[in-house]
């Protein structure tokens, strides 16, 4: 009794859980379906209960049943219920079920938006993690749009676990909601430099996926990836990056040159096979993209091939497989490098693993040469004999044919041998490639004129022995297709037949009623041709008996065919029968029909180029879009006109595009031109409609040649004799056999040599020569490569376009990422559905560390809600986006974006990558890695300008702290990888005069690389908590703007590193001559979003300032407001001194322009100074003079150099500087503006005197 009560209380507990379900299914193996149906009912009942535990249990069971193939989408709503549970245990079950059965078209997905948002922003990291994982499986376009913003917020989560997952989810968001890509991309890019390697790796992963489909948009990221590649040790990430480079190199060969070195190093150093393999793959991609011009080109190939050989020889089948795969890739561009390893590949053909054998076959395809083709094919054929499994056998057959036929039979020196191979292949059991063999036979017979007789002889034998082909095994093979070719060849080249009558009889007597309809149709048709041939010859020889016998035979047999079930066969048979009867009747009447009949088959066939049909030009005056008939509403009159012109067009356009065979009748004198035209048109029409007719077109102008009578008279009798002599027992008498070529192999070389000259370039005109004069020659090597094309059309490969399927989501992601964001490009934010969750956190002054993020996002939301009232646009992401826009330096204002901003900035990024690619020293990258660091100026200067004497001491101290790590890391990496510092042979072909100078200058700096500081920001102000450093550079050519990059960092004076510093705003009022380009034009404040400042992670901000007069120095005062530990705001006053050098750029320096400028007389102003700088070296001097990229070195001769700069206002400044032996420095200046020159020289002089 007591137990009963327990049972009642614990009923829920005894519900069937997942384990019970699984066990139940296993125990009910016999009636599983019934048992599961019963369980489904129970589950449905459980889902109706209120208790979450019961529901979750039911959903867990459903998930299991889903795996077994049961549709559980009916429970979608319940799954959503379980997902919304507050308990992680249930939530996780719900999300799992959702990820298994929801997809983007599931309707209940719409209900999940707010719930998922709550989870994403929730306290529990694993709630958010589960939501991210689940969302990745069932995200829809709506969810992507609505949640993009929340995912973006998670990118700045303090937890790497969430950042990592959020980054990965971004990819799915982009796929469903491509508009998010541009606004989100800068943030994604930042994640490439995330402190957590997992997040980095995830970002790399996402960008790789994006770039794989649209590589060209991601080319500008190459420097960042290069840096990662040379610094990371995470093999997973390296593999991804290296794969990405493999996709990028085809677009930018210079990138490949830069890559070779580090990749080679990796190949040498890594022990991870996976990494080694991917390196080799990318090196191969590089080698393909730069076909030549590399100094150690061959060395790289050899290295790859050598390493691959090691892989292939490995006992691990996986490595062997991959080795062969990669070898196949080298083979394309560098067959010579692979050919020595033929032995290895042939050995792989014996491998027990089919995948490896097939890979080896692929390789063989590219390894054949004229010398080896016979041997390789022979080995393949012996393999075929032994091979088990029809699939592999067919694969072999196909490969043999591909090997032989590649590049217009490039490697075939003996076509008789090839025909023999094909005939031999016909005898292989149960081949699915009958059609392929047939096509080859016909192709060779048509295009290699001199081997025709031999082919015809073989085909005749084949027809006579058709019963062997059509054995019982033929039922499930397509080998009967060969008869199609045999019949056609015998018919078409009937004049070459040794004995046409025998062949005809063989065909008629053969058991050919069992073959497919289209083959029978061709056979019947060719019987007619044979018949005509026999009649014509017999009439010439006055052999009436022959004609009578043949006629009688045909009449009898064709009757059978004319009752065929196949319409095509029937039609042709009836037609043939009538023709035969006609001939019989006319002959009975004493008429000779020979010449007339011959006309039916006269003419020569030419192969048609594959693209001929497409290339048919549209005739003049044909408008394909025009109405063919009058549109219904039009008046009668205009309709008539249309009809008239339409008719005319029809007549003209009908003929050339016809896809069917055009047999070109010789123009007979007694038939008028018009008649011929009409007949031909009619026949073409008929043939075009005949699906069984060989689809070849001929060109009406080129081929009205007479039948090759010369050929007809040639050696007709010799060929079968030869074949019979070489007859091998157990084969069909007269049928060729390969064995004879194996014997001949040895002396084949001589023949090859003999024919080499005539072979390649000799075309049709050699035909008569090679076959008539060189009677002994067994190998006619003339391949008719001319393919018929419409007049004026040229064969080209221009037909390749975007071949991605139309529904590929990556199409939508083909977006230019370099151009700056416009203010309208923001992620959408749902205003009306804001969850008012956790209001208690709103104004918590000091949030606990674990909730910092949540609180942050809450306050942000708060703010956004407030600002919404004022300004519809001012939502969270809106403003965030604007900040980003500023970061990239787009000069956009709120109201009207400047139209040229796009172009200029796009160009700049382009310049960056250009610059990076043109230098060979990866240490010189920082400007590119941080795009806000402004233009890629031709300098490597690290020194600050002397104008900031006052702040020099603290600056040095701080800088050394901040950057010493970076520097040492970089220099050590450099030494590890043996990267060429400056001696950049790889980029030699890209040297512009400017480039040369730049490089020279870098040489000059190279000695001092160790104390170079890549961060060129100068300290501006510092107090006990925050330090601000800055840098000013011209924004772009043609704009009177400079770019201020500000960097806020934690002050070195700050003792407590846990202090919570938040940047509030930057107060920067405009002056009379300097005007900031602002997001919000009404306020002189710049919102800093309460960005969290943490040690080692400076916050950067770029501002664009309009300069009225670039010839005089300016001052700009402002203040930074920030808060410490959430307390009241503190102020740090800022004072910017914008010297004239900030408005100068030396980027455009070039020798020609410089000399032209100096000689033109445009430089009216002159000024000079001399100072004594005792211990300065010329390199240091140049570095000081060049300042922060203000001047570019044009030319340098020993201790003399000329420098050039252009100012924002378009003025030119030229300097000539000398370092005297006595230690004095002399600077001579010329400029188009005197004030500018004077001011510039003042600054330079101050800098020089301050220099050490």
């Amino acid at each position: 009794m007591a137990l009963r009560k327990v049972k009642g209380n614990l009923e829920r507990m005894f519900d069937k859980n997942l384990t019970d379900l699984v066990r139940g299914i296993r125990n009910n193996k016999d009636n599983e379906g019934k048992y599961i149906a019963q369980c489904m009912d129970e589950i449905k009942a459980e889902l109706r209960q209120e208790n979450f535990a019961v529901k979750a249990n039911a959903v867990a069971k459903l998930t299991y049943l889903q795996m077994l193939g049961y549709d559980i989408s009916w429970a979608g709503f319940n799954i959503v219920e379980v997902m919304s549970s507050s308990k992680f245990t249930y939530k996780r079950i719900g999300y799992l079920a959702a990820s298994q059965c929801f997809h983007q078209d599931t309707e209940v997905v719409m209900l999940t938006t707010n719930m998922i948002r709550k989870d994403l922003n929730g306290q529990n990291m694993y709630d958010a993690g589960t939501a991210l994982t689940g969302l990745a499986c069932f995200i829809s376009a709506d969810l992507a749009r609505d949640l993009a913003n929340d995912v973006m917020t998670l990118l700045s989560s303090t937890k790497p676990y969430l950042r990592k997952k959020a980054v990965l989810l971004l990819y799915k968001v982009f796929l469903k909601f491509p508009e998010a890509l541009r606004p989100a991309f800068p943030r994604l890019k930042e994640k490439l430099e995330d402190p957590d390697p997992g997040v980095q790796s995830a970002a790399v992963n996402v960008i790789c996926e994006l770039a794989r489909k649209n590589p060209k948009n991601y080319l500008s990221l190459a420097p960042v990836f290069f840096k990662l590649m040379t610094s990371s040790t995470n093999n997973w990430m390296l593999i991804k990056i290296i794969k990405l480079f493999g996709a990028l190199t085809p677009l930018e060969p210079r990138l490949g040159k830069k890559l070779i070195e580090p990749l080679t190093n990796l190949i040498h150093s890594t022990s991870a096979m996976s990494l080694l393999y991917e390196c080799i793959n990318t090196v191969i991609a590089v080698l393909i993209s730069i076909s030549s011009g590399m100094p150690n080109h061959n060395a790289s190939i050899q290295l790859c091939v050598q390493k691959l050989r090691i892989l292939i020889e490995d006992s691990d089948q996986n490595l062997k497989y991959l080795g062969l795969l990669a070898m196949g890739r080298i083979l394309g561009p560098h067959p010579k490098a692979v050919q020595p390893h033929k032995d290895l590949v042939l050995a792989c053909l014996d491998d027990k693993d089919e995948s490896i054998r097939i890979r080896a076959l692929d390789l063989l395809y590219g390894m054949v040469s004229k010398k080896t083709v016979m041997e390789i094919v022979r080995r393949l054929m012996t393999h075929m004999d032994r091979a088990e499994g029809t699939f592999y056998r067919d694969e072999l057959l196909q490969k043999i044919i591909q090997i032989c036929s590649q590049n217009n039979y490039q490697y075939i020196t003996n076509f008789e041998w090839y025909i023999s191979v094909l005939v031999e292949l016909c005898r292989m059991e149960s081949s699915q490639h009958g059609a392929l063999i047939a096509a080859q036979l016909m192709d060779v017979a048509i295009r290699v004129g001199a081997v025709r007789e031999f082919t015809v002889g073989q085909m005749a034998l084949l027809l006579e022995n058709a019963h062997l082909l059509l054995g019982p095994a033929a039922a499930n093979s397509s080998i009967a297709e060969v008869l199609f070719a045999a019949a056609w060849i015998c018919g078409e080249f009937a004049h070459l037949l040794p004995n046409a009558r025998n062949t005809l009889e063989a065909i008629v007597r053969g058991r050919l009623w069992s073959v497919a309809g289209h083959i029978q149709a061709v056979i019947v048709h060719n019987l007619v041709k044979l018949f005509i041939r026999i009649v014509v010859t017999a009439e010439e020889e006055d052999d009436a008996d022959m004609i009578n016998e043949v006629t009688a035979l045909l009449e009898e047999r064709l009757a059978t065919w004319s009752s065929s079930a196949d319409l095509e066969v029937q039609e042709r048979a009836v037609f043939a029968l009538q023709l035969v009867c006609l001939v019989r009747d006319k002959r009975a009447a004493g008429l000779k029909l020979g010449p007339e009949l011959a006309l039916l088959t006269a003419g020569e066939l030419n192969p048609v180029a594959p693209k001929a049909q497409k290339k048919v030009p549209v005739p003049d005056g044909l408008d394909l879009d025009a109405w063919m008939n009058a549109p219904p509403s039009e008046s009668e009159g205009s309709g008539d006109e249309d009809l008239l012109s339409g008719g005319d067009l029809f007549f003209r356009s009908e003929e050339p595009p016809s896809p069917s065979v055009g047999r070109k009748n010789r123009k007979a004198q007694h038939i008028s031109e018009e008649d011929i035209m009409q007949r031909r048109a009619a026949r073409l029409q008929e043939q075009a409609n005949n699906p069984y007719y060989m689809k070849t077109t001929s060109n009406r102008s080129s081929t009205r040649s007479s039948p090759k009578t010369s050929l007809a008279n040639l050696n007709v009798d010799e060929i079968p004799m030869q074949a019979i002599e070489l007859d091998v027992p157990l084969t069909i008498p007269g049928m060729t056999s390969l064995s004879k070529y194996e014997m001949v192999d040895g002396d084949g070389d001589n023949k090859k040599l003999r024919h080499k000259k005539s072979k390649k370039r000799s075309k049709r005109k050699n035909l008569a020569l090679s076959s008539s004069e060189e009677e002994e020659a067994p190998a006619p090597l003339v391949i008719n490569t001319d393919a018929e094309m419409p007049e004026g059309a040229i064969v080209s490969d221009d037909d390749d376009r975007d071949n991605r399927p139309l529904d590929d989501p990556h199409r939508a992601l083909d977006i230019d990422l370099d151009s700056p964001l416009s203010p309208t490009e923001v992620l959408p934010v749902l205003h009306h559905r804001e969850a008012p969750a956790a209001p208690k956190l709103k104004r918590s002054s000091k949030p606990a560390s674990s909730t910092v993020d949540a609180a942050k996002s809450k306050t942000k939301k708060d703010k956004s809600r407030k600002s919404k009232k004022k300004e519809k646009n001012g939502d969270l992401l809106g403003s965030e986006q604007k900040e980003m826009a500023l970061d990239i330096g787009a000069s956009v204002t709120d109201s009207k974006p400047k139209p040229y901003a796009n172009g200029v900035d796009g160009k700049k990024t382009h310049d960056d990558i250009e610059f990076w690619l043109s230098t060979s020293d990866p240490v010189e990258q920082p400007p590119e890695a941080e795009p806000e660091n402004a233009p890629a100026a031709a300098d490597a200067t690290q020194k600050s300008k002397a104008t900031k004497k006052s702040s020099k001491e603290p600056k040095k101290e701080k800088k050394s702290k901040e950057t010493s790590k970076k520097v040492s890391k970089k220099s050590s990496r450099k030494s590890e990888l043996n990267l060429p510092l400056v001696d950049g042979a790889p980029s030699s072909d890209l040297r512009t005069p400017e480039g040369v100078d730049r490089r020279d200058y870098e040489v000059a700096n190279g000695h001092h690389a160790s104390n170079a500081t890549p961060d060129r920001h100068k300290l501006l102000a510092e107090d006990s908590a925050v330090a601000v450093s800055w840098r000013a550079r011209p924004a772009a050519d043609g704009l009177k703007q400079i770019r201020l990059s500000l960097s806020f960092s934690v002050s070195s004076q700050l003792s407590d590193s846990m202090t919570d510093i938040r940047l509030v705003r930057l107060h920067l009022p405009d002056t009379s001559s300097l005007a900031l380009t602002r997001v919000n034009a009404t306020s002189s404040d710049i919102d800093l979003e309460r960005a969290l400042l943490s040690p080692g992670a400076p916050v950067k901000k770029a501002l664009t300032v309009e300069v009225q007069d670039a010839t005089v120095p300016h001052k700009l005062r402002g203040a930074l407001y920030y808060s410490l530990n959430g307390g009241s705001e503190r102020v740090l006053p800022l004072k910017f001194e914008v010297s004239v050098l900030c408005c100068l750029s030396g980027a455009g320096a070039s020798r020609e322009a410089f000399s032209e400028l100096v000689s033109s007389g445009a430089l009216t102003a002159r000024s000079a100074f001399t100072t004594s700088c005792p211990d300065i070296s010329f390199e240091q001097l140049l570095r000081v003079l060049c300042g922060d990229g203000s001047f570019g070195v044009v030319e340098r001769v020993q201790n003399t150099a000329s420098l050039y700069a252009a100012s924002l206002s378009g003025h030119h400044v030229c300097l000539l500087t000398k370092l005297k032996d006595s230690g004095g420095v002399c600077v001579d200046g010329k400029a188009s503006d005197g004030t500018l020159l004077a001011n510039a020289l003042d600054v330079l002089r101050a800098a020089l005197t301050a220099a050490p």
Binding site: Y64, G129, G198, C208, D353
Partner: protein, 191 residues
């Protein structure tokens, strides 16, 4: 990208199926079947890569698999994944399972397919590799298990007891235990 992850036994019974692209249930079963047929006929000493089946993928996709005792682990991936890398990933997956289940065997996968999914979710997310470091994966799994235990608290104790009793019956071949059977089962214990 990984398109699908399948685990089935030597007889083709699915033990885990995860598709990162939508297929309806029927098609999923066909894919599992086709994949099983492709994979199962291969010897153990041949390479672990296969050109994809006809249903899933096409030429750009590869099947990369490993065979452990009674189970096949098959990943269907496209060309952006490194073949050898995925093989390593399978190894990491199986080792993680081994750590979490302590000497994992097919039975663990049969009865705890949900847990296997949770482990897999720490490795792969939406077809992209999240984490390859096993210690990190195990930490995450253990954290989440802890969380689950916390939530269950005391209430879970009786439930655990019941499931322990149920498991006790497993060797006795009692089919799908139901409550009415329980008294007799307990009587048999003779207390």
């Amino acid at each position: 990208m990984i398109k699908a992850i399948l685990v089935f036994n030597n007889h083709g019974k699915p033990r885990l199926s995860k598709f990162y692209q939508y297929f309806n249930e029927e098609l999923q079963q066909q894919i599992i079947k086709e994949t099983f047929q492709l994979v199962s006929k291969r010897d153990d000493n041949v390479c672990n890569f296969l050109e994809g089946g006809s249903l899933i993928g096409g030429s750009d996709y590869k099947l990369i698999y490993r065979h452990y005792a009674t189970l096949y682990f098959v990943f269907c991936v496209d060309s952006s994944e490194s073949e050898l890398g995925i093989l390593d990933l399978i190894q990491v997956f199986v080792e993680s399972l081994d750590k979490c289940f302590e000497n994992v065997c097919e039975l663990d996968l049969i009865f705890h397919v949900d847990k296997v999914h949770f482990i897999l979710n720490e490795l792969v997310m939406g077809g992209m590799v999240v984490e390859t470091n096993m210690t990190e994966i195990i930490t995450r799994i253990e954290d989440q298990n802890k969380l689950e235990k916390q939530e269950a608290g005391l209430a879970a104790a009786p439930a655990r007891a019941v499931s322990a009793v149920k498991n006790m019956n497993l060797p006795q071949q009692i089919k799908d235990i139901k409550l009415p059977d329980l008294p007799t089962a307990i009587n048999n214990l003779k207390f």
